[in-house]
C-alpha cells in the first residue's frame, strides 16, 4: 500500500511518528494509574496534569477547564446532553445549524425524544450560517447554541466570533464542535466566546480514542458516564494515559507547525480547485470560495455519481471521499450538501479531497492527472450529462 495516494485526511489521519515516540513509555514502564498514590501512580498524575496544561494552552482556556474523554463523539455528548440535562429547568430549547456533523444531528433527535425542542439554522449556498437567521430563532427558552467552527465535509468556516458574541449577549451557552477546524485554524475559546468546545486527538495527528471537552467556568455539565469519579466526577473511567500523552504531544507539534503547514495545504488546495475547475467542464466548487479550511477541496461534477467516482479513484490507488448517498449507510445524500441548496442528483456527484501532513507535491500531480480522465469516462456512459456550449 506504499504507493497509495491518500487525500482523505478528513476521515482519518495517521498518528505522527513523533507522537508515537512520546506515547511508548506510557505503554511500557510508565503504566501507572493517576488515581494511585505510589511512585508509579505519581508519574502518571504528573503526565496527566502536564497534558491538561498543554491542551489548555492550545485552546487558550484555563487548565482546570480541560476534561479528557474517549474522543470527539463523547465530548459532544457530554457537552450538549450534559449541558442540556444540567440546565433543563432554565429552558428546553437548543439551536444547531443544518450543517452540523451527523453526530450532533443525532444527539438533537435524542434530546427531542427527551422533551427538548431543537431548531436548525439554515445556511447560505456556501454553507455559512446567517447571524440574523440564528438570532431570529433564539427565544427565552433557549439554553444552548451548538455550531461547529468549520464543516467537516465542505470545509466552510463559520463566523464563530460573531456567534459567540451573540450567545453571550443573550446569556445563552455556546458549544462548538472544533474537530474539522483543529490543526487548521488557531483555536481560542476566550477570543471567540466559546463556553464548551469538543476536540479530538486524531484530528491533530494524535491517537484515536482520545478527545477533550473544554468546559469554561460557569458552564457546568452533568456527567454522561458514571463511575469512579475521575476528571472531577465529570468523566469517569481510568485515564487513558498513553492516549492523553499522545494528544499532548500532537498539540505541541501543532502549536509549532500549524502556520507553516497551513501555508503548504493552501497551495495544494488552491492548485486542486483551480486546475480541476479549469480542466473539467461543468464542474463547480462546493463550499465557500474564501472562508474554507486550508485542507479542503470539494468539487461537484455534473452528470456523474460519486460512488462510481470513488471506485475509479480506488482502482488507481487514490483514496478520496464523496457526498454520494451510495457510499453511506442510509443511502441518503450528504445533509450538508443538501443544506447548501443542492438537489439530490447534484449531491451525488461530489468529490471531497482533503490534504494533510504527509502529502507531497507528487500526490497532487497524480490526482490532477486522474480527475479529467475519470470524469470523462463516466460522463461518456451517462444518459444525463449534456455538455453546455
Amino acid at each position: 500500500m506504499t504507493s497509495e495516494v491518500y487525500l482523505d485526511y478528513q476521515s482519518a489521519k495517521p498518528v505522527d511518528p513523533r507522537v508515537i515516540d512520546e506515547m511508548t513509555p506510557y505503554l511500557r514502564d510508565r503504566f501507572g494509574n493517576p488515581s494511585t498514590l505510589h511512585n508509579v501512580g505519581d508519574l502518571a498524575t504528573e503526565a496527566l496534569e502536564e497534558s491538561r496544561k498543554t491542551i489548555a494552552r492550545f485552546v487558550n482556556s484555563d487548565t482546570d477547564e480541560i476534561i479528557f474523554t474517549s474522543g470527539a463523539t463523547e465530548s459532544i455528548n457530554l457537552g450538549i446532553i450534559g449541558y442540556a440535562m444540567k440546565n433543563k429547568r432554565k429552558g428546553n430549547h437548543i439551536v444547531i445549524s443544518e450543517v452540523e456533523h451527523i453526530s450532533i444531528h443525532n444527539i438533537a433527535k435524542y434530546l427531542e425524544r427527551q422533551g427538548f425542542n431543537v431548531s436548525k439554522v439554515p445556511v447560505d449556498q456556501y454553507g455559512r450560517v446567517s447571524l440574523s437567521k440564528l438570532e431570529r430563532r433564539l427565544t427565552d427558552k433557549t439554553i444552548l447554541i451548538s455550531i461547529g467552527i468549520a464543516n467537516n465535509e465542505i470545509g466552510t468556516i463559520q463566523p464563530i466570533e460573531e456567534i459567540g458574541k451573540l450567545a453571550s449577549e443573550k446569556g445563552i451557552a455556546f458549544h462548538t464542535d472544533a474537530v474539522a477546524a483543529e490543526g487548521l485554524l488557531p483555536l481560542d475559546v476566550k477570543r471567540d466566546g466559546i463556553n464548551l468546545m469538543s476536540l479530538s486527538s486524531n484530528d491533530i495527528y494524535g491517537p484515536r480514542g482520545v478527545g477533550v471537552l473544554v468546559m469554561r467556568k460557569g458552564f457546568r455539565v452533568n456527567p454522561v458516564l458514571i463511575g469512579g469519579g475521575q476528571e472531577r466526577g465529570l468523566r469517569s473511567g481510568s485515564e487513558d494515559m498513553p492516549g492523553i500523552v499522545g494528544m499532548r504531544a500532537a498539540a505541541e507539534i501543532m502549536e509549532k507547525e500549524l502556520p507553516e503547514e497551513v501555508k503548504r495545504f493552501k497551495t495544494y488546495r488552491d492548485r486542486l480547485i483551480k486546475e480541476i475547475l479549469g480542466t473539467v467542464p461543468d464542474s463547480y466548487l462546493n463550499g465557500h470560495p474564501e472562508q474554507r479550511l486550508a485542507s479542503n477541496a470539494h468539487i461537484r461534477f455534473e452528470g456523474i455519481e460519486g460512488e462510481a467516482l470513488l471506485l475509479s479513484f480506488k482502482d488507481r490507488g487514490i483514496s478520496v471521499s464523496t457526498g454520494s448517498a451510495c457510499t453511506s449507510k442510509t443511502l441518503e445524500p450528504s445533509h450538508t450538501l443538501i443544506a447548501t441548496g443542492l438537489l439530490h442528483e447534484e449531491a451525488h456527484g461530489s468529490l471531497q479531497l482533503t490534504v494533510g501532513r504527509f502529502n507531497k507535491d507528487e500526490d497532487i500531480d497524480v490526482v490532477l492527472e486522474a480527475v479529467p480522465e475519470i470524469v470523462t469516462r463516466l460522463r461518456d456512459m451517462s444518459p444525463v450529462y449534456k455538455r453546455k456550449k
Partner: protein, 257 residues
C-alpha cells in the same frame, strides 16, 4: 458488507463495461428507469430482428453496481427472444455477477426493469403516444404558505433583478414569461432552479436552446407543495411525480409569475 465491496465480476463490468452507447433505427426500442434524484438512471436500447434481440446497448448514471448490472444485462439478452428476455429478472442479473451487496439489490439493480420497458416500448411501436400536458398550470391556492411568504421571499413578479443577488431562486414554470425570468436571473445569481410538472420545459425552440446553455437547473416531473421557513422563504417541499416522493430543497426565493 461495505457498499463498495463488490465481486470481481462486478468490478470487471464496472471497469470494462460492455455495450456502452445508444442504438438508432426502426428496429430499435429503448427503456429508461430510475431517477437521478435517487442516484441511478439507466437506459437500455435493444435492436430486434424476427422477435429476437440482436444487439443491446446502455447508458447509466449511477454507482458501480448500476453500471455493472447494466453492462451485464446487455450481455445476457443478446440472442434471446423478446419473451425470453421478459423473463430475465434482477436476481438473474445479480446472480450472473456473482451477487451484489444486499443494500444495492434494489436501488442499483434496475437494468432488468429498463430492459422490460424497452421490450414493451418495442411492442407498442406505432401506437401514438398520448399528448402529455405541458405542466404550466399552477394553482397558487394549493400552495401551502403562499400568503405567509409573499414579500418575504415569495415573488409574483420580478421588478428588480438585483433583489435576487446571490439568492438561490426557484422559478415555477408557468409559461414563457417564467422562462424569461429564470434566464434573466442568471445574471445576478448562479443558482436558478426552474420547476415543471411535465417531463421537459415546454417552450419555444429559441428559449429551449437558451435554457440548455444557461446555468438554469431544470427540475422536471416535480410539483411545488409548500414553502417553509422562519418568517421568510428558507426551503420548499417538492413532490417528485415520477418517484411519488416528497423532499426539501433549500432556497432563498421563490418566483411564481
Amino acid at each position: 458488507m461495505k457498499s463498495t465491496q463488490y465481486s470481481e465480476k462486478v468490478l470487471d463490468h464496472f471497469r470494462n463495461p460492455r455495450n456502452v452507447g445508444v442504438l438508432e433505427g426502426d428496429d430499435v426500442a429503448s427503456g429508461r428507469v430510475g431517477n437521478p434524484t435517487c442516484g441511478d438512471l439507466m437506459e437500455v436500447f435493444i435492436r430486434v430482428q424476427d422477435d429476437r434481440i440482436v444487439e443491446a446497448k446502455f447508458r447509466t448514471f449511477g454507482c458501480g453496481s448500476a453500471i455493472a448490472t447494466s453492462s451485464m444485462t446487455t450481455e445476457m439478452v443478446v440472442g434471446m427472444t423478446l419473451d425470453e428476455a421478459m423473463q430475465v429478472t434482477r436476481d438473474d442479473v445479480a446472480d450472473e455477477l456473482d451477487g451484489l451487496p444486499p443494500i444495492k439489490m434494489h436501488c442499483s439493480n434496475l437494468a432488468a426493469d429498463a430492459l422490460h420497458e424497452a421490450i414493451k416500448n418495442y411492442r407498442q411501436r406505432g401506437i401514438k403516444a398520448i399528448q402529455s400536458e405541458d405542466g404550466t398550470e399552477f394553482d397558487l391556492d394549493c400552495l401551502v404558505g403562499a400568503d405567509e411568504y409573499l414579500d418575504n421571499g415569495l415573488y409574483r413578479t420580478v421588478m428588480d433583478a438585483s433583489d435576487f443577488e446571490e439568492k438561490r431562486t426557484l422559478v415555477v414554470h408557468t409559461g414563457d414569461e417564467s422562462v424569461d425570468v429564470a434566464l434573466e436571473l442568471t445574471s445576478v445569481t448562479d443558482r436558478v432552479v426552474l420547476l415543471t410538472a411535465a417531463d421537459e420545459i415546454v417552450t419555444t425552440d429559441e428559449l429551449k436552446e437558451e435554457l440548455e446553455n444557461s446555468s438554469v437547473k431544470i427540475l422536471t416531473e416535480s410539483r411545488l407543495l409548500e414553502i417553509r421557513g422562519e418568517f421568510e422563504v428558507e426551503k420548499v417541499l417538492i413532490h417528485n411525480l415520477d418517484e411519488d416522493e416528497d423532499y426539501e430543497l433549500f432556497v432563498d426565493a421563490v418566483v411564481i409569475v
